[in-house]
């Protein structure tokens, strides 16, 4: 077994284990740390897929900025163990688990079986050249310039919205 396969299985295992920990942990802070683990392993998977810029952005923006925000809010609100009511226990047992197993199997089945997946599994996937960040930046600042500018306005609106929402009501 070659190195990419070993790396893929290792990272996939870490990612799935992290996602399971997110579900099973009772404390929100444990869920947050598990999600950071998932994001880091996804960043390494992006490197494996040759997308260096996206891997860097994943670590800096997702694992860095967004998750720090989450951890900050968890600590600010002093979120402890989540409470479970009778209703939520019943719903989990009789609706949740069957639905979960069904969804995961169905998604994985169709993703693996779809014609595009089969084509790719045998054909074009073997090209290993990594995407250059220069080409990506050309794309963002030429073909996708308008959406790029729109996201800056979106972020401005988000900043103002967050300020207005978090402000203490008068």
């Amino acid at each position: 077994m070659s190195l990419p396969f070993v790396l893929f299985f290792l990272l996939a295992f870490v990612a799935v284990a992290g996602a399971l920990t997110l579900i099973l942990a009772r404390e929100p802070i444990h869920s947050a740390l598990a999600l950071i683990l998932v994001m880091i392993s996804l960043a390494v998977l992006y490197l494996l897929l040759g997308a260096e810029f996206i891997a860097g952005v994943q670590v800096i923006v997702y694992a860095g900025a967004i998750m720090v925000l989450f951890v900050f809010v968890i600590m600010l609100l002093n979120a402890g163990v989540e409470e479970r009511t009778d209703f939520s226990k019943l719903a989990t047992k009789y609706v949740g688990y069957p639905l979960a197993i069904f969804l995961i199997i169905e998604f994985a089945y169709w993703m693996a079986r779809s014609t595009i997946g089969r084509e790719i599994a045998t054909g074009t996937a073997a090209n290993t050249t990594s995407v250059s960040t220069e080409a990506l930046s050309r794309m963002i600042f030429q073909s996708y310039l308008l959406p790029f500018e729109a996201t800056s306005i979106l972020i401005l609106i988000a900043i103002i919205g967050a300020l207005v929402l978090a402000k203490k009501g008068e």
Binding site: F5, I23, S88, L99, V131
Partner: protein, 102 residues
Amino acid sequence: MSVVPISWYLVLSAILFGLGIVAFVFKRNIITIFMAIELMLNAVNLAFVAFARAHGQLDGLVFVFFVIVVAAAEAAVGLAIVISAYQNRQTLNIERFNLLKF
């Protein structure tokens, strides 16, 4: 050197997305439900990167970039909503936020 087939990445993405939905349905804490949404966005990003690689086109990576930007904006606004909801109700349990429920 053999290369990992793209469909394996897609299966991993599907499993992560499914686990994200599961977390979204199971969890009672409003912050954890938010984290489940982030997990689903991450799973979709993985599928985007895998497809971009498979087709040798950069458009998928640009989409991932935009998804990350929108997720950042969404997290900022969403957590502000969580904080103001907590100030109103003094709890993070989703079942206590039933003002709009019939």
